[in-house]
């Protein structure tokens, strides 16, 4: 199967600042991909490159085996819901569906009507009068009814209340179950993505920190707790993602393919949120030590800093 997303050395520069750097990724089809990172990390830039709203400054990006937005067919294969789910405030719900039908050759009017009905939206209602949750659902309806192979959503639940957030994710997962559509969605909250994603990309400070199948990632990361030890005295196959020390105790988050055999360690499983946080902290520590390179003792203590 072709990868839904294939980036090789992908980068985007705005004047002097790189919004995305050295991004190499291969995301298989049929997955629900979570793109996580703090605000300003480059998530929107990566998604805009993937849907063809931006052109790369470096490297290449392929989507479903083609160049993003290269042809009308290619445009039809990808559905995109932008941040803040922009709609036309003056147009009614029904107008939006008409608009969608007119612009998309594969438009499925049945699905669109069924979803609007299911959501209890009044077709005559103007989009400007809808609640945040309803607007998000209408935008999702438009994206689903064009029957894409890949659905890209930028922070779709960030501005929704918990109930609307749950409902939105319910509908999104139903779409994934029904059509087997591949989904890439971004969020700055891991908790939003924990239930829905089976593939994770952590983006911090314009760089991909880690990417892979969620179960694989959870299986190869551990938290080790034991008597104080320096990071460089761990076996070579244990990559230290995060380290913290008291005068007696050391706690490491490590990535390793093999089992941890040293009996000195208490080995704990690590949750997705902690895993993401460990990578985020490592990235921001790296960024800090790059700007203030004099504090070498500190970065040695943190371990695993590139």
């Amino acid at each position: 199967m072709t990868d839904v997303l294939d980036a090789q050395g992908l980068g985007k520069r705005y004047r002097k600042r790189w919004a995305l750097r050295d991004c190499t990724l291969q995301v298989p089809a049929g997955r629900v991909v979570g793109l996580v990172g703090p605000n300003g990390a480059g998530k929107t830039t990566l998604l805009h490159l993937a849907v063809g709203l931006l052109a790369p400054s470096a490297g290449t990006v392929g989507v479903l085996g083609g160049r993003p937005a290269a042809s009308p067919t290619q445009l039809g294969r990808v559905g995109f819901v932008a941040q803040e789910t922009p709609l036309y405030a003056a147009l009614s719900v029904a107008d939006h569906l008409k608009f969608g039908a007119w612009l998309n050759p594969n438009w499925d009017a049945g699905i669109a009507a069924r979803r609007i009905d299911q959501l209890g939206l009044d077709p005559k209602q103007r989009a400007g009068k809808l609640s945040g949750g309803q607007r998000a659902q209408l935008a999702l309806t438009l994206a689903i009814a064009k029957r894409p192979e890949l659905l890209v959503l930028d922070e779709p639940v960030a501005s929704l209340d918990p109930l609307a957030r749950h409902q939105f994710l319910q509908h999104l997962m139903e779409a994934a179950a029904d059509d087997g559509v591949s989904i890439v969605l971004s969020s700055h909250l891991v908790s939003d993505l924990e239930r829905v994603c089976d593939y994770l990309i952590v983006l911090v400070d314009s760089r991909v920190q880690v990417a892979g199948d969620v179960d694989d990632l959870l299986a190869c990361h551990h938290r080790l707790i034991g008597p104080r030890r320096d990071a460089d005295r761990l076996p070579a196959n244990q990559e230290v993602i995060e380290a913290s020390h008291t005068d007696r105790q050391s706690t490491f988050v490590v990535r390793t393919d093999g089992p941890v055999l040293d009996p000195a360690w208490t080995v704990e499983q690590i949750g997705l949120e902690d895993l993401v946080l460990a990578y985020m902290r490592r990235a921001s520590n790296t960024a800090n030590s790059n700007t203030a390179n004099n504090n070498t003792a500190n970065s040695a203590n943190l371990g695993g800093v590139e």
Binding site: V32, H166, H171, M173, E174, A177, R195, V196, D198, L218
Partner: protein
């Protein structure tokens, strides 16, 4: 039919939670041979979780021979974990409750009871008795 629920703070991966809930229901006799599991879509839309998670859980249950998928119909329980032992549950439960009362009277709090149980359980498992 059983209903799944997810504990997001338990640290147990969602797919494993689904597997454990089916196994527990089988063990307690809540699910019996021939019963249908909720369809993938039902689980997905109720819990707002990834369909692959549900599929993975059902596949694992299938591998362990507990359920079978019938194409286009659904997933059904084909075997049970309780049969032989279910009759013994009642008397064992009574005995355990008696023991728990005794432990409380001896001044053990919940945490100590749990620790003692886990410890004895592990001891027996290591000895190869349990």
């Amino acid at each position: 039919m059983i209903e799944f629920h997810l504990n997001t703070t338990s640290g147990v991966s969602p797919y494993l939670q689904l597997v454990q809930q089916v196994r527990r229901a089988l063990r307690l006799g809540l699910l019996a041979e021939g019963d249908q599991l909720p369809t993938v879509k039902d689980v997905v839309s109720r819990l707002a979780i990834n369909p692959n998670t549900v599929l993975k859980a059902y596949r694992e249950l299938e591998h362990s021979g507990l359920v079978a998928a019938r194409a286009g119909v659904g997933t059904f329980v084909t075997s049970t974990l309780s049969n032989a032992s279910l009759a013994a549950h009642g008397p064992l439960r009574v005995e355990l409750q008696r023991w728990l009362t005794k432990a409380r009277r001896a001044g053990l709090d919940d945490e100590s009871i749990e620790a003692l149980f886990q410890d004895s359980f592990r001891y027996l498992t290591d000895e190869g008795v349990a």
